[in-house]
C-alpha cells in the first residue's frame, strides 16, 4: 500500500513542480534579460523535460540499458546539431579570410 501511496504522491509533486517551472519561465520571459532570456527559457524547458523523463517516464528506476538508450539518443541530437551548426556558424569566416585583408571596422554612425 505504501508503494501505491508514494507513487501518487510523487506524480502529484512532480506535477506541481512542473506548473511552478512553467510559471517561472513565463515570468522570466516577460522581463528583458538580453541574451539570458533564451538561456533561461531553454534551461527551464530542459529541467522540465528531465523531470518528466525521470519520474513520469520512470527513467529514475529503469534498467541501465534504458538509461543508455536515452543517453545515446541525446548524444545523436548533439551530433546532428554540432556538425550542422559547424557549417552555418563558420560560413561567414570565408568572407573575412577570403574577401580582403583590409577589413577595418566601419563606423556606421559616422
Amino acid at each position: 500500500m505504501s508503494h501505491k501511496r508514494s507513487a501518487v504522491v510523487i506524480y502529484v509533486t512532480v506535477y506541481v513542480i512542473l506548473l511552478l517551472l512553467l510559471a517561472l519561465t513565463v515570468e522570466a520571459a516577460r522581463h528583458d534579460l538580453g541574451y539570458w532570456n533564451f538561456a533561461v527559457s531553454l534551461l527551464i524547458a530542459t529541467v522540465k523535460a528531465v523531470v518528466i523523463a525521470l519520474f513520469f517516464m520512470h527513467v529514475w528506476n529503469s534498467t541501465r540499458l534504458v538509461k543508455l538508450v536515452v543517453a545515446t539518443s541525446l548524444l545523436w541530437m548533439v551530433i546532428l546539431f554540432t556538425l550542422s551548426l559547424a557549417d552555418y556558424w563558420t560560413r561567414d569566416w570565408d568572407s573575412i579570410v577570403g574577401g580582403s585583408q583590409d577589413v577595418t571596422p566601419l563606423d556606421s554612425t559616422h
Partner: protein
C-alpha cells in the same frame, strides 16, 4: 509495440518470451527505442528552427509576439495535466484499479482533445489575421523582413502541426486502450500497453515543453 503483450490466451505472456520480466523489459526497451527515432524526427525540425532563428532573431521575436501567449500557457498547463493523469492511469492499471484506469484514461483523452481544440482555435486566429502562409493563403506582415517572419510561421505550423498529429495518434491508441479497459483488460500483468502508451504520451508532452518557449516565449518581452 503496445499490442504485443496482448496474448490471445488468458496468459499475459507472449509465446516468444520466457517470463514477464523479460517481456516487460523488452516492451519498455522497444518503446524507448521508438522514442529515440521520434526524438531524431523532431530533431530535424528543431535544427531548421535553430538555423533560421539565429539568422534573424529580431524578426523571430517579433513574429513570436503575434502568437497568443495566454493560450499557449493554458495549453501547456492542459498538456502537463494530461501527463499527470496518464501517469496515474498507468499506476491504476498496474495496481488493478479498473474504474480508476477508465476514468483517468478518459480524463487524459479529454485533456488531449482540449489541447487540440485550443490549438486549432489558435490556427483559426492566425488564418483570420492573415498569418498563415500556407498553400498560397495571404500573409500580411507590417514589420521588417516579411520573408523571415514567414519562415517563423512556416516553422510554427510545421512543428505544432506535426506535434498535433502525434497527439491525434496518441488519442487513437488511447481509444483502443479504453475499449480494452472497459472489457476488463489491461490490469496487473496485462498493463504493459498502458505503460508504453504512457511513455509515448509523456514524450509528446516533452516535445511541447520545448516548443512552448521556442515558439511563444521568445517574443514575450
Amino acid at each position: 509495440m503496445s499490442g504485443e503483450t496482448q496474448a490471445p490466451a488468458l496468459s499475459p505472456l507472449a509465446h516468444q518470451f520466457d517470463d514477464l520480466t523479460q517481456q516487460n523489459e523488452a516492451d519498455d526497451l522497444g518503446m524507448w527505442l521508438f522514442l529515440c527515432t521520434e526524438l531524431m524526427f523532431f530533431g530535424g525540425m528543431f535544427l531548421a528552427y535553430t538555423i533560421y532563428r539565429t539568422r534573424d532573431e529580431a524578426t523571430f521575436a517579433a513574429a513570436s509576439a503575434k502568437l497568443e501567449l495566454l493560450w499557449g500557457t493554458v495549453n501547456t498547463v492542459v498538456l502537463l495535466t494530461s501527463s499527470l493523469t496518464m501517469a496515474l492511469a498507468v499506476h491504476a492499471a498496474e495496481v488493478r484499479q479498473r474504474r480508476k484506469l477508465i476514468m483517468l484514461l478518459l480524463g487524459t483523452m479529454v485533456l488531449g482533445t482540449a489541447f487540440l481544440s485550443i490549438k486549432f482555435m489558435e490556427y483559426y486566429h492566425k488564418y483570420v489575421h492573415e498569418l498563415m502562409p500556407l498553400a498560397g493563403l495571404p500573409f500580411k506582415w507590417d514589420g521588417t523582413s516579411p520573408g523571415h517572419a514567414e519562415m517563423f510561421f512556416d516553422l510554427y505550423f510545421a512543428m505544432t502541426g506535426i506535434h498535433a498529429l502525434h497527439m491525434i495518434i496518441g488519442l487513437g491508441i488511447m481509444l483502443v486502450l479504453l475499449v480494452k479497459a472497459t472489457r476488463g483488460g489491461l490490469l496487473g500483468d496485462f498493463s504493459g500497453p498502458v505503460r508504453v502508451t504512457g511513455l509515448y504520451w509523456h514524450f509528446v508532452d516533452m516535445v511541447w515543453v520545448f516548443l512552448f518557449p521556442l515558439l511563444y516565449l521568445i517574443g514575450a518581452r
